[in-house]
Amino acid sequence: MTAEALDATGFAGPHGAKPKQLSWGRVGIYAFLVIAALFFLVPLYVMLVTSLKSMPEVREAHIFNLPREPTIQPWIDAMFNACTGRNCTGLSPGFWNSVKITVPSVIVSIIIASINGYALSFWKYKGAEFFFNLLVFGAFVPYQVVIYPIIIGMSKVHLFGTLPGIIIVHTIFGMPLLTILFRNFYSSLPIEIFKAARIDGAGFWQTFFKVMLPMSVPITVVAVILQVTGIWNDFLFGLVFAGTENIPMTLQLNNMVKTTQGTIQYDVNMAATMLTALVPLIIYFVSGKWFVRGIAAGAVKG
């Protein structure tokens, strides 16, 4: 104990919390994160400000400027008045079609997948493992490969180009991933809860509805988010299977933006795009907390 000087607090050498240091590695990470955030946020910013400008202001081409006279008219036009060819209804029919497709598809696919996952985890019948592996494989099959056979199958049962048809297609394609999600969730639950329910005399459905389903809220939220965003953003299946009556919002947006005659209404197009993206965005904001919790649910024991 010689040269070590005592500092103001009366300690010699390191003490208390270690001081934080800004290393070059950290600077690099932050720089990367900021650039990545800008990469996504700058286009969004441009779209937002453009959608709030009137056409004369847009033509000035100062794309980063805030709107001088903010107006929501482009948003109203996009939703109700914009023309696709000779058809001037805005996006609203597409919006309602998307709702009609998304809501039943999400509900039906989640109900079936949760029952699948539950049966696969707890009622180990012969061939269950094989069936599960098949599903896992199914999750990796590229959509394009199976579209043609499904078209033929659908038209054989007269469902091609109908609302039930597109709902069935979404349900089928959501099944592998959702089933894996639910199976893994149920497998992470203590098996004793299932055994206790059996001793209490609850059967397949009673155990599912009264014991398992109430415990499944976090994973169901994850499934809802995945399905709503997936189905709402879908373009390919809507194009192929929905039929002209039921084209979803994404498809209508595409048609609208592409078929403009005369001047291109950038403000309306931007507003229309934002409107189409709004539903998944809202779902994320509303349920972000739940989403993270559900993803981590495997670590939380009931």
């Binding site: 203590p190 004793e192 809860i193 055994k195 206790a196 329910a197 059996r198 001793i199 209490d200 005399g201 609850a202 009673q206 009264k210 014991v211 109430p214 415990m215 009931g302």
Partner: protein, 359 residues
């Protein structure tokens, strides 16, 4: 004694692995039977077979005189308590208790009566409106026991119900389970690998190893007359001393040391000469003055002393083989000290060194 649970020739295989094979077991009505054994020996598996949660490969199971081999768990007249409590997390304590009754469509008044009775017995009335997450481990396990209680069953199955609890709570709840058994007089089958639990609770203990029941007897008999080396070594803490030597009629010799067996009761007369193992419990070895009264005495030197509070465990050597003894903590002991130890070989156990079976 009437039999309550009877297992005949039970075989259970997971794929090609037979965990239980040709197992026979009879449990009397109102008996408290403990299944004791090391991890992985098949205790839980046996219990799950009894409960009907595992489909058995061969054999029969009778409960209360009825062949339940093909019955559903709910129809077997059993209640089960798990180590992990297995309460339904989204239901209140009250609904946890009544779930089975509601499922069976019992009238509301009857359900209320039973829940009230069970919660009174287990002292959980103040907790009825809470969710399991708001309970302590001990309270959760009480609710789990209550869930078996309300179903008014003949047989209770416990699978290590106290293993998740801390030492203090474990001994409290152990007494409570004993009290419960004395009050209800149900048949109880209790799995544990804690030998204190086994000794204190059991009317009879079944000691299992690799899916085979080694010995099924009262705690006293299992402790004093273990049928083989495994049981002898498994029961008792610190473990029984094993001295390798040779049995020759009525003496046991380790090299030059001869231990007269005196009144030792052989399983059958005329064992003759064979390599044997003499098992002596540490608490049956006396030191100092007490040792002088023992039929066999020996001078030796203390190597290690482990004070346990109520008593002291000492380590020494007999004919070069390590031996522990247990004595009152009032006796002053120090490493290197010369002492006299003594024991009565008649209280020990002799085993065939080859087969490990008691002789």
């Amino acid at each position: 004694m009437q039999t309550s649970v009877s297992v005949k020739n039970l075989t259970l295989a997971f794929g090609a692995v037979k965990v239980l094979e040709g197992l026979n077991l009879d449990v009397g009505t109102g008996e408290f039977l403990v299944l004791l054994g090391p991890s992985g020996c098949g205790k839980s598996t046996l219990l799950n077979c009894l409960a009907g949660l595992l489909e058995i490969s061969e054999g029969q199971i009778f409960i209360s005189g009825k062949n339940v081999t093909w019955e559903e768990p709910k129809d077997r007249g059993i209640g089960m308590v798990f180590q992990s409590y297995a309460l339904y997390p989204q239901m209140t304590v009250e609904r946890n208790l009544s779930f089975g009754l509601r499922v069976s469509g019992m009238p509301r008044e009857e359900i209320e009566k039973r829940v009230a009775r069970a919660s009174e017995i287990l002292q959980i009335q103040p907790l009825l409106k809470r969710k399991p997450a708001e309970l302590s481990g001990g309270q959760r396990q009480r609710v789990a026991i209550g869930r078996a209680l309300v179903r008014d069953v003949d047989v209770f199955l416990f699978d290590e119900p106290l293993s998740n609890l801390d030492a203090k709570l474990r001994s409290d709840l152990r007494v409570e389970i004993k009290r419960l058994h004395q009050r209800l007089k149900n048949t109880m089958i209790y799995v544990t690998h804690d030998q204190i639990e086994a000794m204190t609770l059991a009317d009879r203990i079944a000691i299992m190893r690799n899916g085979v029941i080694q010995q099924l007897d009262t705690p006293h008999a299992v402790y004093n007359n273990p049928v083989n080396l495994f049981v002898a070594g498994f029961i008792g803490s610190p473990t029984m001393n094993f001295l390798n030597g040779r049995i020759d009629g009525s003496t046991f010799s380790i090299d030059a040391l001869n231990i007269p067996l005196g009144n030792y009761k052989f399983e059958k007369d005329g064992v003759g000469k064979l390599d044997g193992i003499l098992g002596v419990r540490p608490e049956h070895i006396a030191v100092g003055e007490d040792a002088k009264k023992m039929p066999f005495q020996l001078d030796s030197e203390i190597e290690i002393v482990e004070p346990m509070g109520s008593d002291t465990v000492g380590w020494t050597k007999v004919a070069g083989q390590s031996v522990t003894f247990r004595c009152s903590s009032d006796i002053p002991l120090a490493p290197g000290q010369k002492i006299t130890i003594g024991f009565d070989p008649a209280r020990g156990s002799l085993f065939d060194a080859q087969s490990g079976v008691r002789v």
